[in-house]
């Protein structure tokens, strides 16, 4: 593990970094494609502890994180079309995004089936 100036942690392995932490200073936003946002319920409340997966343009799984208590998630992807799929006790939901370099914000709404 390496600590950055913000105190955020970049793992050598695959554990999800803290989803509510600021983006580490070591991340170059002119090169990285960050997809981030909040999962919320049908009532508009943020859903913490939701499992959010990033699917590529063919629908294939790319990564998965668990949302922060404020419902936040974040992925480091590449420019292109992506789908976000959230599973939670409050229900499931999808959202799609066409991402460019830099920070791409996307909201995911979940509702009981």
């Amino acid at each position: 593990m390496t600590s950055t100036a913000t105190g955020a942690v970049t793992a050598d392995g695959c554990a999800a970094p803290d989803q509510s932490a600021p983006i580490p200073l070591s991340v170059d936003l002119t090169r990285e494609t960050v997809i981030t946002g909040v999962v919320s319920s049908a009532e508009g409340e943020p859903v913490g502890g939701a499992y959010v997966r990033l699917l590529d343009a063919s629908g294939e799984f790319t990564a998965e994180v668990v949302t922060s208590p404020a419902g936040q998630f974040r992925f480091f992807a590449a420019p292109g079309s992506w789908t976000l799929r959230a599973l939670s006790r409050a229900g499931n939901g999808d959202a799609s995004v066409s991402a460019d370099r830099g920070v791409n914000e996307v909201a995911v709404r979940v509702s009981a089936a």
Partner: protein
Amino acid sequence: MSRETALVSADWAEKNLDAPNVVFVEVDEDTTAYDAGHIPGAIKLDWKTDLQDPVRRDFVNKEQFETLLSARGIGNDDAVVLYGGNNNWFAAYAYWYFKLYGHGDVKLLDGGRKKWELDARPLTKDAVARPATEYRAQEPDLSIRAFRDETVAAIGVKNLVDVRSPDEFAGRLLAPAHLPQEQAQRAGHIPTAISVPWSKAANEDGTFKSDDELRKIYGDAGLDGGRPTIAYCRIGERSSHTWFVLKELLGHEDVKNYDGSWTEYGSLVGVPVALGDEPGEA
């Protein structure tokens, strides 16, 4: 090995939380999830601090494994039920260790921590202490572990299964997309490797697909059942998940996990690397 001996359901686990000689073990790289709430009675293992050698790039040796399990209160005759986050990646990695060191009865909890949470099953913050044991491990079973030279020699000869995401396979990404893309080694895959992302084997709640579905997935991808197989990913944990599927659920004879995986192979001097979505030539 089969689904009946290698896997337990969440229902079975919840009914057996207090069963004698059954030890639940949560395995993760980030153990803050355990600390915020774990399956009642479960102990934790940290993928990095408990299971990796602190100096060399290798995992714990036989003596270190014995010391760890003895201190955590796991006995040779205990049934060990492993679970974790990240769709059981690190739990599957630990399962592979337990097999490597010859533990008799070890199982994965189907769906891991995710299904347990989504089902709203009980979690507790209560501290868990188990009396120490005198655990004795077997010599490592290297028939399930591949090293780099045999992986290079396997190009065009054995089944090589790259279980990373399609973009990592093709060389468009260097790491899973929840991590910054800043590694220095070369991108791509081992020539002749077929791409079967680990996630193909799992449902979205983290449980494994049925044996029939799994056989079709690997058959359609071109896995030759008559040849030995080496699975790899980036650091060897996602490929443990696929190793578990091929060896423990489907019962393939000769399946190895190459735990050096792409972080080793993609940094080797002079080895062939393929780019793009096709396996490439030997």
